[in-house]
Subunit: 232 residues, 2 copies
DNA sequence: GCCACTCTGTTCGATAACGCACATACAAGG
DNA sequence: CCTTGTATGTGCGTTATCGAACAGAGTGGC
């Protein structure tokens, strides 16, 4: 892994690739926190209190559209950060940030982040680069939502969950996935059923296991590869 | 308007709100260019040669998905710039930038922009703020593509065209709109027909006129207002 | 062992959009 | 005038998804 020897718990790529000097200055203000499924890191339209650098947890970014449940438009894992608007000089986001499972992240208050951001050119470079990747992800998601069928989108979503989750099993109910994908729960049930019959996944009462990763890739839309490759 | 007296042709908001001193330093490297419908300002995955600050022209950002025509995921008008990846330290975009009509923009080479960007804190602030608004637009588009019917999305798209176009009539064929919205040409024909029967618009062979702006707003999805309000 | 709850599976008709094919209509040029 | 090309309109059967309602099935508490 990329993490420096003196901080074994830092799996976040943005932090891990900082020069040691820059990292140590930030270190004093970074807290290791544990996030739980369903935790709202910030709400759309409200001031961002903290930024988060996920280690082994997935955070989703959701848009709120009237008459619909929140729709997922982006996913942040250990290669990103939650709270990018602060890096752009904005103190709130139009999106809600929601933890997708249990795991750890490095947390920093907004003001400490802003100071650290000013003082570290390396951090700025990393974060701006990540913002670019996130924009690519938002654009790809827009296209994916338009063109691809539920089954392919579900496969993509499960692959992304698996990439960031600590284990190959994770907790996601059909109901919850339906909200993320912006479809009915029944739509997810059907798609998940189809994937299970192809022996790609297995699930029961919210516990999903990936059986055949490459098969699932074949069932997913090309957006999976595109988004993955955008992060470099 | 916001444009300084000494540069009557500068209608672009980002440039117009710069302090005079900062603007004058940039001025030497800014060219007034005329864009024509269909002109590609940069291609996805190829180095960005110039940035553009639109005056009275609309530029759309398109994602390329295999098996489909390019889908519009964002629109840049006089309140934005084309070439934001350069501000994030990236020299190419995953998106294609396409001029949506004839009009003028201020153009700058990539390297001059990067230098000007380093030297002007005001420009940086403006551009980062715009990047935030653009991200909000991408996210909203993703949701809009998922939830809203063609007629509402068409209405929104026409309103946005009208907001940035010099006149209330503009040239957009059904075929072209279909590609932007990611639907069949027939879908646009039907939706446009419906809007025309409600006396909201009028069109013939690509020339579209808006007859009832507020009526069209009512027919459009709420995304129109949301995206507009995000730009401040 | 029973109850309440959550999660998953199934069915129904309705609808929006699809792909394809063809018909009309208008404009420009020889 | 006639041809060619572009733009728009229409009809057809098909598919993905919707909304709503209900039927099992596993899990945990009492």
């Amino acid at each position: 892994m990329l993490m420096p020897a003196h901080t074994p718990q830092i799996a976040n790529h943005l932090l891990a690739t900082l020069p040691r000097k820059d990292y140590q200055r930030l270190h004093a203000h970074l807290d290791l926190v544990t996030l739980t499924l369903g935790e709202v890191l910030y709400e759309a339209g409200e001031p961002i209190q903290h930024v988060y650098f996920p280690n082994d947890v997935l955070v989703s970014l959701l848009t709120l559209v009237e008459g619909h449940l929140a729709l997922e438009v982006g996913l942040v894992g250990r290669d990103g950060m939650v709270g990018t608007p602060l890096a752009l000089g904005i103190d709130e986001s139009p999106l809600r940030a929601l933890a997708q499972g249990s795991g750890t992240a490095m947390r920093m208050t907004a003001s400490h982040f802003q100071k650290g951001f000013r003082d570290s050119p390396s951090l700025r470079r990393e974060v701006y680069c990540y913002i670019h990747a996130l924009m690519a992800q938002l654009a790809q998601t827009a296209a994916c939502n338009r063109f691809h069928v539920v089954e392919a989108r579900l496969a993509r979503r499960l692959l992304m969950a698996a990439d960031y989750a600590p284990s190959h099993t994770f907790h996601l109910t059909h109901e919850f996935l339906a909200s993320m994908l912006g479809v009915r729960r029944v739509g997810v049930t059907k798609a998940a059923h189809a994937l299970q019959q192809q022996n790609l996944i297995n699930y029961s009462r919210g516990e999903i296991t990936i059986l055949d990763r490459s098969g699932l890739k074949a069932a997913a839309c090309s957006c999976y590869k595109i988004i993955k490759n955008a992060k470099h």
